[in-house]
């Protein structure tokens, strides 16, 4: 074929395609990896509500800490109430 190609280049192309269509495709085994990825993805979907719940709980905990730390520190420090009312009274 290569020595005597047809005069129409597109006919040559057609012949080449016909020949290429007889090519044997390499053996592959995609199944294990496909199943691994599917399990991974479905696992993520299943865990999504848990992830949201964890994030929500973390946010709530941060909010509580923001209010709780100053409150706790004022309770533990007996002078703070006095200082806040009249800081100059000590002098």
């Amino acid at each position: 074929m290569a020595n005597h190609p047809p005069s129409d280049p597109l006919k040559t192309f057609e012949n080449l395609v016909r020949q290429a269509n007889r090519e044997s495709v390499p053996e592959i085994n995609a199944m294990p990896e496909v199943m691994r990825r599917i399990r991974q993805e479905t696992g993520l979907i299943r865990e999504r509500p848990l992830i949201w719940m964890t994030a929500g709980s973390a946010l709530a905990a941060v909010a509580v800490m923001i209010f709780a730390i100053p409150a706790a520190s004022s309770l533990l420090d007996p002078l703070s109430a006095l200082m806040q009312n009249n800081p100059m009274s000590m002098f």
């Binding site: 192309f13 020949q19 090519e23 495709v25 390499p26 496909v34 599917i38």
Partner: protein, 204 residues
Amino acid sequence: MSALTAIQSVGLGGLDSVSGQEDVLDINACLNGNQEAYARLVQRYERLIANQMWRFTRDQTILEELVQEVFVEAYTSLPGFKGKSPFLHWLRRIATRVGYRFWKNKARAKERQEQFNQNPTEVTPDYNVATPSEAGEFVAGLLDELPPGERMVLTLLYFEEWSTQEIADHMGWTRSLVKVRAFRARKKLKTMLEGAGYGQSSSI
């Protein structure tokens, strides 16, 4: 209508009825969360999809990745499978989409590379092909020079032997767009082949 009842009502024309019935059972089981059923579907069609994806790459590693991508995408889209056509047709459509996306990404990467290199190296195909493998290599080299849309049209026209209408339906393009792309692609192909000494004839 569920995928199962839809498939049963339209039948599985064009497919072997035994594998068609197996498909129906496996798809239904799969939709009910049975992943082993999907493994059977993968095993059944892996070879056919690999043959199809071989048009998109000549690299065995990439071939395997593309086939995996097709089946993972099919799995996530399975709830949307209406059963209007056989499962394999539906799978092939996904495969074409995955392959086309791969070509588009590859073309973008190539463009960036060429901008960086300034002087892109021309692919000089070897015409002394003797074996199907060499012919495949050579044809892929030629088609690689075309933009993804034109390459897709020629691949479907010549390898799959589809009509322009079938290509339009499959790709979601208009028929006139397919014709324009086919015309441009053939013109470029002809120039490439003539440039390499293959005939100097007239009509496209």
